[in-house]
């Protein structure tokens, strides 16, 4: 059941209808059941895992909240860490580490029988594991109190709109949404509907529209240099629209139910440097890594070199969070390297978000830097999307060898026209967001203009519906 398919909207219609007639307590119970139905629709066996994760953190946090001994509190924290990270290790990383270790032994000339582990990867495990971990750590830090109602806590973990691909919510934000009565407002409904519409266009018209070309290029054993370049640009568009489209729909659906989820993307491709990029891309993960990993490692408090070490470690683990494959680790190292280099060149405070500049020359310079930094981001996406180190090496060579015969030949299937138009419209939409500094800039339009805009977008969505639907990329993480 994915957001871009009709069965999800039928499911949501039923949930919404029930929601309207229930009391707050009833709404929460019904949402919990709906969330488990939503999750179990992938594979009912996943339910045991999410229930286990919920139970561990609920009990640990309750006990920790009452406990006064710091040592015992720490021990309880370790129980939660071991439980959650243990599940991640087994279900997500065990097969990868066993295979890598076997390869290493073979490389060293030692006989190693390959061990094949057919462990199914539960959808969204990295998202809800991080969400429950942040709750336990917050209780440990005494930033929040433990939630006494198990069913409320279970809903915080399993809330279906953001369960499988985020945003990774903090208990400080989502739990009050669960615990306190919510109101369905016309404003929330209309803003939620707009978010859903924008998210569906991003996903269906753009991400699914470019998926065929990207897949063809990355499956091609001998693409041209220009194929690799354009393919990587297209993948940058695909992953942005796929992931931010999901987040928009998650936020939109939540808003209609009276929940407020955090913003996860803020026009990331308008970033001019790595620090700014990570303030705009997958914000819920980057702030999680900052608050629970980077700062725990010491952040920038212990001198320059340790700061670089912490940056590298944080981004390496951030890369590994995405998937059990070495190219994700390499991507993390690349991002850590970029942040370190940027820190070294720009100084301690960096010059992120330099929107304060006003002169035309400054704006022009910023546009140039954005365009250049986009290429740097795209090379990271090549590392991310590649299927092997061999392909990374091969594609990098093809990209750089511009004197090779046939470098400028494009061979991949053409994009659907609706997708091309969608990319241009998305650019304009994000530009309006960026320039106005207001994600609801459209509310300044008079009502008839807004209505015309939404109906145009609905009609446009229908054009894009003809592309083949694909699963959201971030489900695999």
């Amino acid at each position: 059941m994915i957001f871009s398919e009709a069965n999800f909207w039928l499911f949501f219609a039923v949930v919404f209808a029930l929601y309207l007639v229930l009391s707050h307590r009833g709404q929460n119970r019904m949402l919990l059941v709906a969330s488990y139905v939503f999750y179990g629709a992938w594979d009912w066996r996943f339910l045991g895992l999410i229930f286990l994760s919920t139970a561990i953190d609920y009990l640990v946090a309750l006990r920790m909240d009452r406990e006064v001994s710091q040592q015992r509190r720490k021990m309880l924290l370790w129980v939660s860490l071991a439980g959650n990270l243990g599940m991640l290790a087994v279900f997500k990383y065990l097969g990868f580490f066993v295979a890598s270790f076997t390869e290493l032994l073979t490389y060293a000339g030692l006989r190693a029988d390959p061990v094949i582990l057919n462990i199914i990867l539960p959808v969204g495990i990295s998202f809800y594991t991080f969400q429950t971990l942040s709750y336990t750590i917050d209780v440990y830090r005494r930033d929040i109190r433990a939630e006494p109602d198990f069913l409320n806590f279970a809903l915080f973990v399993a809330f279906f709109p953001q369960l499988v691909a985020g945003p990774i919510e903090r208990a400080t934000n989502l739990l009050p949404n669960v615990v306190n009565p919510r109101r369905i407002t016309w404003d929330g409904l209309s803003r939620g509907a707009v978010l859903c519409l924008v998210g569906l266009i991003k996903k269906i018209v753009i991400a699914d529209g470019v998926a065929g070309s990207v897949n063809a290029i990355y499956a091609n054993p001998s693409p041209s240099g220009l194929d690799v370049l354009v393919g990587t640009w297209l993948f940058a568009i695909q992953i942005y629209c796929d992931f931010s489209g999901y987040t928009d729909i998650a936020r939109g659906v939540s808003k209609m139910l009276g929940f407020d989820l955090m913003r996860n993307f803020a026009q990331p491709y308008f970033a001019a440097n790595p620090q700014e990029f990570w303030r705009r891309w997958h914000i819920s993960l980057s702030t999680w890594l900052r608050d629970y990993l980077y700062i725990s490692l010491g952040g920038n408090r212990h001198g320059e070199w340790k700061t670089y070490r912490n940056l590298m470690l944080t981004m390496l683990l951030g890369g590994l969070w995405h998937g059990a494959a070495w190219n994700f680790v390499l991507w993390g190292a690349y991002q850590g390297g970029l942040l370190s280099v940027h820190r070294a060149l720009a100084g301690r405070n960096g010059h992120a978000g330099e929107g304060v500049r006003r002169s035309a020359g400054d704006w022009l310079w910023r546009v140039v830097r954005i365009a250049l930094f986009f290429q740097v981001v795209c090379y990271g996406w090549l590392l991310f999307r590649a299927q092997s180190f061999g392909q990374i090496r091969d594609f990098t060579g093809r990209l750089l060898d511009i004197t090779a015969p046939g470098w400028s030949t494009l061979t991949f299937p053409a994009l659907p026209q609706a997708t091309l138009a969608g990319i241009m419209l998305l650019f304009i939409w994000d530009l309006c967001n960026e320039v106005s500094g207001n994600s609801r800039f459209y509310e300044a339009l008079p009502a008839p203009a807004r209505a015309a805009l939404w109906s145009g977008m609905l009609y446009f969505l229908a054009f894009g519906l003809t592309t083949t639907t694909t699963a959201f990329i971030y489900f695999q993480f």
């Binding site: 398919e5 009709a6 016309w186 404003d187 409904l189 209309s190 897949n215 063809a216 290029i217 499956a219 091609n220 054993p221 001998s222 061979t411 991949f412 299937p413 053409a414 009502a447 008839p448 807004r450 209505a451 015309a452 939404w454 109906s455 145009g456 609905l458 009609y459 229908a462 054009f463 519906l465 003809t466 083949t468 639907t469």
Partner: protein
């Protein structure tokens, strides 16, 4: 509340206005023969009966597939050609689709002495090609080569009675049987009630026959759905046609996935393997040389057609040519914009095909001698005087 309802009401009104404007533009441009690609784009979403009616009413429409590749017409044409052709054996007779035709034509260009005889239909699934092979039996000679083409992207069509049910955008109405394993090592055909273009046209005036045909499609065709065949009122709105197109394509894609994963009740691999074995047995029984041409399309979601039939090819020692062995299907440079192989690739396949022929015992000259021997009752192996 009024102010909040105003915007959704205006959205609906604008949508309706836009739809009316698009419908009027399409109507006007259609009357003047303008914007044909835009017309086609919106027509893709018409219901299947709506598209067929349009083709009947406007025979000159581009991409009109109404009269294309009906089996009785194809066989009648084959009979005429067979009666008129040089009776020498050794003709290369192909059963398949455009992919096969392009390869065999390339072979004939490379060696003009080759005699080729092609039978097929658009994106023909194996059951269509096999049905043609069976029905064309009287129009082959001992010593001929029979080529059965299997296209990876058309494999799910084995569970369909017609392209109309699984090729929503271009629903060629031509029909063919679905073959099920009979449990005795052979195949049991389920013949369609409608077999000719004339019969299909006649359904417009014979509601009883039309209902029976719909019922058969609903029961025997794995792709039949109300989304593709019903709700004719949606055809009035260009917007709803776009929605139907998406819905129908998704329905077909999910049924295709079910068939490819053998979850849909149709035993795809078993039927295909039996079909290939039966094709080779019948051809050999008639003194012909069977060749299976396995075409792997560019869609990575396609089943690996060679892997599916390899056991039976090996077991029965059936000669085959697999495009996958000569052209990486993942390399888009091997394909043209319409998904067919480029001419250069077809020339490579044709060369491989021509190299294959002598290795399977094809020799038109020698075969003619054998036939003459047979005619004169000269025992095999005795030299001609």
């Amino acid at each position: 509340m009024k102010q909040y309802l105003a915007v959704p009401a205006m959205v609906l009104a604008f949508l309706a206005l836009m739809d009316l404007a698009v419908a009027a533009t399409l109507k006007l441009s259609g009357d003047h023969g303008a914007l044909p690609s835009l017309q086609r784009y919106f027509d893709y979403g018409r219901s299947v009966p709506g598209k067929l009616d349009q083709w009947i009413e406007n025979p000159d429409l581009p991409e009109n597939l109404f009269d294309v590749a009906w089996i009785p017409d194809t066989i009648a044409q084959s009979e005429r050609l067979f009666a008129a052709e040089d009776p020498a054996p050794g003709t290369l007779r192909g059963y398949g689709m455009s992919f096969l035709a392009q390869m065999m034509r390339a072979a004939a260009e490379q060696d003009p002495a080759l005699r080729i005889d092609l039978h097929g239909g658009p994106a023909a699934p194996p059951n269509f090609a096999y049905a043609l092979f069976l029905k064309d039996r009287p129009n082959r000679r001992s010593g001929d080569v029979a080529v059965l083409a299997i296209l990876s992207s058309s494999l799910p069509g084995m569970a369909a009675l017609s392209n109309r049910s699984w090729s929503f955008e271009q629903p060629a109405p031509t029909t063919y049987p679905v073959f099920w394993p009979d449990g005795k090592g052979g195949l049991r055909p389920v013949e369609p009630l409608v077999t000719s273009a004339a019969q299909e046209r006649g359904l417009r005036h014979d509601p009883e026959a039309a209902t029976a045909w719909q019922r058969q499609l609903a029961q025997e065709d794995a792709f039949y759905s109300q989304v593709s065949f019903g709700y004719s009122f949606l055809d009035q709105s260009p917007l709803l046609r776009l929605v139907r197109r998406s819905w129908a394509m998704q329905t077909i894609a999910s049924r295709e996935a079910g068939i490819l994963n053998e979850e849909a009740g149709y035993p795809l691999t078993a039927s295909l393997q039996t079909m290939v074995a039966e094709f080779a047995r019948i051809a050999r029984e008639d003194g012909q040389l069977p060749v299976v041409y396995l075409i792997q399309g560019r869609d990575p979601a396609d089943a690996d057609v060679l892997r599916m039939v390899q056991p039976v090819l090996d077991e029965q020692r059936i000669p085959y040519l697999a495009t996958k062995d000569l052209a990486d299907p993942r390399d888009p440079t091997n394909f043209g914009g319409d998904g067919h192989f480029k001419d250069s690739m077809n020339r490579i396949f044709a060369e491989a095909f021509r190299r294959l022929l002598p290795t399977i015992g094809w020799n038109p000259e020698r075969t003619q001698e054998q036939d003459r021997r047979k005619a004169a009752s000269i025992p095999e192996g005795r030299p001609l005087q």
